[in-house]
């Protein structure tokens, strides 16, 4: 990967701004940024949603949060009571968050890039991203829950990481 391609990636503040725009449009409550993200935090009890970007830059955008946070996101977006939200609706809402943030990132990394449909895994701790390394991470508190947004760059031959 060239420096020019690296330069096209959003910085952490730019990624945070993209997330803030999504939150301001579709969710209630303020996101409070974590100044120094803990990259080693365990993903036990968390869900992960991601979209892949393929083109001049290839990688993926992931969103990780607790089950409680994911349910709160779905409750806000569907405007339902917590007891009414199904697992499918939770996955749908979290996937759409990844889709919106990833779509904005895609617009920054190159005109020829292709965005995948969102994927969601209910057990983030079980997920390994082979041949990918994390380049940018933003963490924020929302409704007493921690949300994490990361950009991963595909690197064939790399050992991979969480």
């Amino acid at each position: 990967m060239t420096e020019a391609m690296t330069a096209a990636l959003p910085s952490a503040p730019e990624l945070a701004e993209i997330v803030d725009q999504v939150w301001a449009s579709f969710l209630e409550g303020e996101l409070i940024a974590v100044p120094e993200p803990d990259l080693a935090r365990p993903y036990d009890g968390c869900l992960v949603a991601w979209v892949s970007i393929a083109g001049d830059w290839t990688g993926h955008l992931s969103v990780v949060c607790s089950d409680a946070a994911a349910r709160a996101i779905a409750t806000d977006m569907f405007q339902l009571d917590d007891s009414e939200v199904t697992t499918a609706e939770v996955a749908d809402a979290l996937g759409e968050i990844a889709n919106m943030v990833g779509g904005s990132v895609k617009g920054m990394v190159g005109a020829t890039a292709v965005l995948s449909l969102p994927q969601v895994v209910l057990d983030a701790a079980a997920l390994v991203s082979p041949e990918a390394r994390r380049l940018v991470t933003v963490q924020a508190h929302w409704k007493d829950e921690l949300l994490e947004f990361s950009l991963w760059e595909r690197q064939p031959g790399n050992g991979g990481g969480k």
Partner: protein, 120 residues
């Protein structure tokens, strides 16, 4: 106004409908499609007044759906509501016959500003 909302995300279909109403548009009937092929087939069978479609969907993408709709002879007002809003995509959408492209995230004000010239 009869509106077809096409998006593979359930929650985004709901948000689009909610935003239409918040923007003050009177929707007498909402028809939903969960992928591009459904959007194409339902547009031809139901003849809505307006189609609001995601771009990135399974079966057929939104742009493939639009091209098929135009090839079938429909001149329905068709607009994209999508997470990707690059100039290249806007040009591709316009060339295929889209009236507009609204990028996610959006607000009711965005819907009002963009849609009022297309909706009676």
């Amino acid at each position: 106004m009869r509106v077809l909302v096409a998006d593979d995300s359930m929650v985004m279909r709901r948000i689009v409908v909610r935003t239409l109403r918040q923007a003050g548009f009177d929707c007498e009937e909402i028809i939903e499609a969960a992928d591009g092929r459904q959007a194409y087939e339902t547009t031809l069978s139901e003849s809505p007044d307006l189609v609001l479609s995601d771009w990135n969907m399974p079966e057929m993408t939104g742009i493939e759906s639009l091209r098929a709709i135009r090839a079938a002879g429909s001149d329905v007002t068709f607009g994209f509501v999508t997470s990707e809003g690059s100039e290249e995509m806007r040009a591709e959408a316009a060339a295929a016959g889209a009236a507009f492209l609204i990028a996610k995230p959006f607000t009711a004000d965005t819907f009002r500003d963009v849609l009022e010239q297309y909706v009676a």
